[in-house]
């Protein structure tokens, strides 16, 4: 196997998508549970925790998305053009979710009346469903090789993504509850377990759809380097559920991220060397070499500079050295 520069960039693109799916997943997942929290006082408590958990990091995740799209149009302009010429409805809907979510997350902090808050919560929650579903659907449309925005594979990808998002969100909220609201630990623990089961169920259906729609992808998943990642997801998801079931609060968040991230990586590896299965390989779509070099440098920069910076942010956050400025300013 020969590894060329464009493979490195494809890997960076896949990693950016993975980072967005996992980090963003935690974030959007919290939004999904916000939607499902209902009206009662328990729901309000849960919402308060969700707010608290999201506030310091919520813009950072957007950057992964922007990075992915920039790497895509600079590194693989042909893929970018094909995807956007055909899949624009999916991207429009995902974006709609993104902007409504940002707006209404802010709004519920200023909403005056009860009914305004209700609306803000609802829109915020619904938009947290819209975005992961439609972004994943676009990956499904690409995976099918046909670039049809609406078909079985896009829907399957979208649903799997929703389950994975809910799973990530709940799993991390267990951690937040342990630190800030112990009375909610069981609440989110039960939800995380339910979401893990849902992910296993929907994931199995997803694999069936892949088998029917694009058998090569399934073959790729079990015969290439994708296999370890497939196995990681298949093993770790129930493992997390088991840990939480038995109240073993160790490593469960790391394992959740690994399970969800592995799923994304498995898809990417399985369809390589194709960016667009059957139509466009990584090498065919790649930008000129000089551009690729810049992208690799930027990717290294992100790894060297931003990696530690995010580490710092999370470190300070976990040490509770960061707190909401609105409380005092």
């Amino acid at each position: 196997m020969r590894i060329v520069l464009s493979d490195v960039i494809a890997a960076a693109l896949l990693l950016a998508i993975t980072a967005y799916s996992t980090a963003g997943g935690v974030d959007f997942g919290a939004g999904i549970w916000d939607l499902l929290a209902g009206r009662g006082s328990r729901g309000e408590q849960a919402r308060e925790l969700i707010d608290h958990a999201m506030a310091p990091v919520w813009e950072v995740n957007n950057v992964w998305l922007v990075l992915a799209i920039v790497v895509c149009w600079t590194g693989f302009p042909a893929l970018f053009q094909a995807a956007f010429l055909n899949l624009y409805p999916l991207y429009t809907l995902a974006l709609l979710g993104l902007i409504l979510r940002g707006a209404f997350f802010a709004f519920r902090h200023v909403a005056g009346t009860e009914s305004e808050r209700g609306i803000a919560n609802l829109v915020f929650g619904l938009s947290s469903v819209l975005t992961p579903f439609f972004f994943a659907a676009s990956l499904g449309a690409i995976a099918s090789g046909r670039l049809e925005p609406f078909g079985p594979l896009p829907v399957a990808f979208g649903l799997v993504s929703l389950a994975a998002t809910a799973f990530s969100g709940a799993s991390f909220l267990v951690g937040d509850a342990r630190r800030h609201a112990p009375e909610l630990v069981d609440y989110f623990r039960r939800r995380a377990i339910a979401a893990a089961l849902a992910l296993m169920g929907v994931g199995t259906i997803g694999l069936v759809v892949v088998a029917a729609e694009r058998r090569e992808l399934l073959t790729g998943m079990v015969t290439t380097l994708a296999l370890p990642f497939v196995l990681a997801t298949v093993v770790l998801t129930p493992l997390v559920a088991g840990l939480l079931w038995r109240r073993v609060f160790k490593l469960y968040r790391l394992l959740t991220v690994t399970a969800v991230g592995s799923m994304v990586i498995a898809w990417g590896v399985a369809q390589s060397p194709y960016l667009l299965p059957g139509r466009l390989t990584i090498e065919q779509a790649a930008a000129p070499t000089a551009t690729q070099v810049v992208l690799v440098v930027v990717a290294l920069g992100v790894a060297l500079v931003v990696g530690p910076a995010i580490g710092l942010l999370l470190f300070l956050d976990q040490r509770s050295l960061l707190e909401s400025p609105e409380a005092h300013s």
Partner: protein, 456 residues
């Protein structure tokens, strides 16, 4: 409903203009407010001045709120390139995208450190907090550099050659540092610093006019206004450089800015006025030979005219008029701002204190708004003056537009307008709420005497 059946060019252009024009409103505070905030925090730490620290802390909250809106509208923009102009990215992404790759890195740093700075006020040691903040100004500038490198590339494309096979070859440095970048970057950087400074200062100027004139108001006005006033006169010089460079780099844009129909010497400078389709200028004030003098320091200098270009290689009459009026608006307001700055420094240097003329504060209160208008007008000049090219001389806007039906883009545009209006409403309400709360806190504080700011 012919416009519904046409291709998506018109709504796509409107949507791009609308979303960019909106995003740019958030940028001056996004890039420059961290600098002012750090300056204030530095003053507070050095002089142990709790009032300065309180100002810095409040500004940082505003910074964070608008960073969030900037992040959302900016993400929309990146997707819009794909949704509206997929063929430009497909053809030139490898060169055009370079700037954005740099920007991606910069925004990353910005997002992380804004989080740390904002949420670290109370619990981090003051010096460490300040040091973390120092990451923000350079990463903001790096981001601006990236975006402007991309925009400059569209205006003066360079660094790409088409190989015999039809593929693209990219010279990375030449594509990043194109000819327009020199003036665009400095002119824009000055613009956002001026705008941010004047905008912040104008709030305290308003407070001055309402009679609040204590240490808090003076500090809040004096520090930013001094920064803005120092830069405003420089901006006129840099703008002049930019205009002169356009004569060579983008002559059709220059002709549109001056609504100049024929290429000739002794060309008059027209202020205001509208071009009609026969090449006549109606209304407006015409100053003989001034345009030639500005172009080449001599009445004999030749200024380019629109009629030298084919119809499909220059802005239309409507676009030219728009470019021209925007340009005049920017220059007019920019010159006014420079005069206000001179007034300020005259008082400051001669009397060693802030001005106390009510008229001065009336103008100062308007300077913030004026700067925002300048920024919008400047961008309209740049972007509309580039028409019909999306990549000057290399690709037309109509060749880059999506194949999506016009009705689709009109719908998307309407939804966006509605949601953006909502965001603006929330945003303003949030800021008003903050400001009301701060005023309440100030009165309460006199009673309790509780100092604010990082742990000292």
């Amino acid at each position: 409903m012919r416009w519904l059946a046409a291709d998506a060019l018109l709504p796509s252009r409107i949507q791009m203009a609308f979303t960019l024009g909106y995003h740019i409103l958030l940028v001056p505070l996004g890039v420059a407010l961290p600098t002012l905030t750090l300056l204030m925090e530095g003053i507070g730490l050095a002089r142990r001045d709790p009032v300065a620290l309180r100002l810095a802390r409040r500004w940082s909250v505003v910074m964070a709120v608008q960073f969030a809106v900037g992040a959302v509208t900016g993400t929309i923009l990146s997707f819009e390139f794909g949704i509206l102009w997929p063929k430009m990215l497909g053809r030139f992404g490898a060169a055009f995208g370079l700037g954005f790759a740099v920007e991606g890195l910069a925004f990353f740093l910005e997002a992380v450190f804004i989080g740390i700075y904002l949420y670290g006020w109370t619990r981090l040691p003051p010096r460490l907090h300040f040091l973390f903040g120092l990451v923000l100004p350079p990463s903001g500038l790096l981001g601006a550099f990236g975006v402007l490198a991309a925009n400059s590339w569209m205006n003066t494309p360079g660094g790409v050659t088409v190989t015999p096979s039809g593929a693209l070859d990219v010279d990375v440095w030449a594509a990043l540092f194109t000819r327009a970048l020199g003036y665009e970057f400095w002119h824009f950087t000055l613009a956002i610093y001026i705008t941010c400074s004047f905008a912040v200062a104008s709030l305290y100027a308003l407070a001055w006019l309402r009679g609040r004139r204590d240490h808090y108001q003076r500090l809040g006005f004096g520090v930013p206004f001094t920064v803005g006033a120092a830069l405003a006169p420089v901006q006129v010089l840099v703008g002049d450089l930019a205009a002169r460079a356009l004569v060579a780099h983008q002559p059709a844009k220059f002709a549109a800015m001056e609504i100049n129909w024929t290429t000739r010497d002794h060309n008059p400078e027209v202020i205001g006025g509208l071009l009609d389709s026969s090449g006549h200028v109606n209304l407006g004030l015409s100053l003989p030979s001034l345009d030639s003098i500005l172009v080449g320091y001599s009445p004999n200098a030749v200024a380019p005219g629109l009629s030298a270009f084919a119809d499909n290689a220059r802005p239309s009459i409507l676009e030219s008029n728009l470019t021209h009026l925007s340009f005049d608006l920017m220059v007019g307001l920019g010159s006014a701002g420079a005069l206000l700055a001179l007034w300020y420094f005259a008082v400051l240097l001669r009397r060693r204190r802030l001005p106390d003329s009510t008229w001065f504060y009336r103008f100062a209160a308007l300077a913030g708004l004026g700067s925002y208008i300048c920024v919008e007008a400047g961008w309209v000049t740049t972007e509309v003056g580039r028409q019909p090219w999306i990549v000057y001389g290399a690709m037309r806007v109509s060749d880059a537009v999506t194949d999506a039906p016009a009705a689709y883009v009109w719908t998307m545009l309407s939804v966006l307008v509605a949601v953006y209006a909502l965001i603006a409403f929330f945003f303003v309400r949030l800021l008003l709420g903050l400001s009301a709360r701060w005023r309440r806190d100030d009165t309460a504080e006199v009673e309790q005497g509780v100092p604010y700011g990082p742990r000292a």
